[in-house]
């Protein structure tokens, strides 16, 4: 049976780190806070690996089906009988898998940051924020109660806000962190309402009970829920759709993706941890967690999930081809890959062979965490060396950054889906699932995978080949002011602390594909055999390789071919370069429409009605007191007359009128 103490310690250790470093870091652990945070997380990672081993190989299976366990549960706040917010631990294949992913990637980032963030003014604060983030993400993953999940969901949002705004003296970072917080918070309102609807329909907040009640077609709850409709859709459909809006906001799905590229203002390791590998997949995890509800009860919503994922995947891929900021390219590629995971869920059905999409999505989540974290950390190493985010300042770096070069290449091959790297296997499964269920999405996905290979290798060739590299001395001379990396003078590739995570993650990105993932994670807990279709994989691999060679032709040597192409596609290129003007549309809607239609009237109402009432009270009081202040004259005899008149009036009143 699962050991509640061990599992509870996995999130609690980072929390301890957060409290310790947050409260005392600046005074006592100025130098050692990195080591402390990393050590705590190492322990937590080991415990997570131990839990995963125990679960998958020792006690998890009963009759060939992976079971759900609730080793610990405590009622935190009871609303009414049966409806309560519980703090608990829920152990099942996806939560265990996510435990490993989150703690491992977080550990890599912790180690990497030892080198990358060295000498930062707010070093302890950085590590305490990382601890808070890891705690909340692990708590989200383990949540056995949908409201507990929501609490941790918001905590994740807060820590993301703190980390994006880490360089708070930089206006763009401040703007970015506010944007991220507001956009995701806006989506979370949908999530909250969705939770309320779902829990109202099912009469519980407990996740396993909720899923069980909402998926058995003859239960009382589902009958009443389907009976009540709003705007032509049943209450359940609305609930599921709203929950998905929350997930889409956190996972940066179109059209709520605008915060993700801006979130790259945070330190690069943070981007690797939060905006690539862990937090942004929270939305995917949420859909996967409620997958039975989505697929059995509200298949219409699942179709929306699929299409939103597919559209996000392709739009992000197109935009990624035009961006010049290395981290923004990676951000859009993240969005595109998460789109993959989403539509993989969208084309899946519950249980059996049809559940391939579910397994594929989780598998892609797993492998993507590896190679995307690796890509970001490599980008961090490059930025650390060049002191610039812009691809124009890079080129020919393969001589100076050999380890980074190789690991980056592995990650690129993995994300491009070249066998035998990890991305190949997971992407193959996703494409297969799409092929079996929805041809339109399949074609989009296939095209996107070609684009993915192209833009990743565009990045690779521009950074590591292209023009001859300037010498390190020259590099350090033209360091950009205000650029993120504020490291020292000319230096090599970065220390052991920065290279170790790269190598470990590269091993993961190269080898993770060979894990027989269907054995462990499937929609109904039964082992799902993932067959390998050689013929089927020809098309995507060929497309991927074509993309790579196109990128090579364009970018390996310095030339103007790409500029010519951009010029020939003028309008489209410009639109893509400006991210299809989605930011501008948002600005227009918020500034022009919302501001004029809602903001201004509200301001008018506030100024004239609310303030007016307050001012009126004040003015009235003043006028009255001005009028009656003559009464207090200081003449005793006048007072006596008032008194006498009063007594006479009262006496008359009582004697003649009120008798």
């Amino acid at each position: 049976m699962p050991n509640a103490t061990i599992i509870a310690l996995i999130p609690l250790l980072p929390l301890a780190g957060f409290l310790l470093l947050g409260l005392f870091g600046r005074k006592f652990f100025k130098k050692s806070s990195g080591i402390i945070g990393t050590a705590l997380l190492l322990a937590s990672t080991l415990l997570a690996l131990y839990t995963a081993y125990e679960y998958f190989f020792i006690y998890g299976k009963a009759d060939g089906v992976y079971q759900q366990f609730v080793p610990f549960q405590m009622t935190w706040l009871e609303f009414s009988k049966g409806v309560s917010i519980d703090m608990g631990l829920l152990i099942d294949p996806i939560s265990v898998m996510m435990l490993v992913v989150v703690s491992f990637v977080s550990l890599m980032v912790h180690i990497y940051s030892l080198g990358y963030m060295k000498g930062e003014e707010r070093f302890p604060a950085y590590y305490s924020f990382l601890g808070l983030f890891t705690f909340s993400m692990l708590g989200l993953v383990l949540a056995g109660n949908i409201f507990q999940m929501y609490i941790f969901w918001e905590l994740v949002g807060v820590s993301s806000f703190l980390l994006i705004g880490y360089y708070y003296d930089k206006p763009s970072a401040v703007a970015a962190c506010k944007k991220a917080f507001i956009v995701t918070r806006f989506a979370d309102v949908g999530f909250l309402i969705g939770i309320l609807i779902l829990s109202f329909c099912s009469g519980t907040l407990d996740l396993p009970t909720l899923i069980q009640r909402l998926t058995s077609p003859d239960s009382n709850e589902i009958k009443t829920a389907v009976a009540s409709t709003f705007l032509g859709a049943s209450a359940l459909t609305w609930g599921a759709a709203l929950v998905f809006i929350g997930g889409a906001g956190k996972s940066a799905m179109f059209p709520l993706h605008i915060w993700l590229p801006d979130a790259m203002e945070g330190p690069t390791p943070v981007s690797a941890l939060i905006h690539a590998a862990t937090m942004v997949v929270a939305g995917v995890y949420l859909v996967a967690r409620l997958f039975p509800v989505f697929s059995i009860t509200t298949p219409g919503v699942l179709e929306i999930v699929g299409w939103v994922g597919a559209i996000s995947a392709i739009i992000a891929a197109i935009i990624a081809c035009t961006q010049t900021d290395i981290k923004r390219v990676l951000a859009y590629s993240t969005m595109s890959q998460i789109g993959y995971m989403m539509f993989a869920l969208g084309v899946s059905t519950y249980g059996g062979e049809g559940g391939l999409g579910y397994t594929a999505s989780m598998f892609h989540l797993f492998t993507h965490a590896m190679f995307k974290a690796l890509l970001f950390l490599c980008a961090g190493a490059v930025i650390h060396y060049v002191h610039s985010n812009d691809m124009k300042d890079m080129g020919g770096l393969r001589k100076y950054l050999p380890i980074t070069h190789i690991t980056f290449l592995i990650a690129c091959l993995a994300i491009a889906g070249v066998p035998p790297f990890a991305g190949f296997f997971s992407k193959e499964e996703i494409l297969l699932a799409a092929y079996q269920n929805n041809m339109a999405i399949y074609w989009i996905a296939l095209f996107t995978s070609g684009l993915t290979a192209f833009y990743m290798f565009r990045l690779y060739f521009t950074i590591f080949w292209n023009k001859p590299a300037p010498s390190p001395l020259e590099q350090s001379g033209k360091r950009k002011i205000g650029s993120e990396a504020r490291g020292g003078e000319a230096h090599g590739e970065g220390g052991f602390a920065m290279m170790l995570p790269l190598v470990l993650l590269a091993i993961g990105a190269a080898a993770a594909g060979f894990i027989p993932f269907g054995e462990f994670v499937s929609s109904d807990g039964k082992a799902l055999e993932t067959k390998f279709h050689l013929v089927f994989s020809i098309a995507p691999v060929a497309l991927g390789i074509a993309g790579i060679f196109t990128a090579m032709w364009f970018y390996k040597k310095q030339n103007n071919k790409s500029d010519k192409l951009a010029a020939s596609l003028n309008g489209f290129y410009k639109a893509a370069y400006h991210k299809f003007y989605i930011d501008e549309i948002y600005l227009y809607i918020t500034k022009k429409v919302l501001f004029n239609l809602v903001g201004k009237p509200a301001a008018w109402f506030d100024r004239n009605v609310v303030d007016g009432m307050v001012n009126l009270t004040g003015a009235a009081t003043q006028a009255i007191s001005e009028a009656i202040k003559k009464i207090q004259s200081g003449k005793v005899q006048q007072y006596a007359i008032y008194f006498l008149v009063g007594v006479i009036v009262l006496a008359t009143l009582f004697i003649y009128i009120l008798r």
């Binding site: 207090q632 004259s633 200081g634 003449k635 005793v636 005899q637 006596a640 006498l644």
Partner: protein, 104 residues
């Protein structure tokens, strides 16, 4: 010779009361005002005694009230005279119009 009835007492009491009120409102000298107040109090006392005697002859409540009022009047006179003496010390006058600035 006619026995005095309740109405006689009430008449005298009312007359005393209004003489007192008139004195209080018209005199400027604080001592005179204090004396007027004594008149008002005594008119009340007279009322109490009269009602007690004619309406509830077996009871003593009116007498007790009267005794209380006499006691309080004595105390009040002491306090008032103390105030008047202080006022005289600071203003060199016991005219009520000079005491107007006490409101500040």
């Amino acid at each position: 010779m006619m026995e005095p009835g309740l109405n006689h007492f009430l008449f005298i009491s009312a007359a005393l009361f209004f003489i007192g009120v008139y004195g209080f409102l018209t005199r400027r000298n604080l001592i005179t005002m204090l004396m007027s107040i004594e008149l008002i109090l005594n008119s009340v006392n007279l009322n109490f005694i009269a009602f007690n005697k004619y309406l509830w002859p077996g009871k003593m409540d009116g007498l007790f009230f009267t005794l209380f009022i006499i006691a309080i009047a004595a105390a009040e006179a002491a306090v008032a005279i103390a105030i008047i003496i202080n006022l005289y010390r600071s203003h060199q006058s016991i005219d009520v119009e000079n005491a107007e600035d006490l409101k500040y």
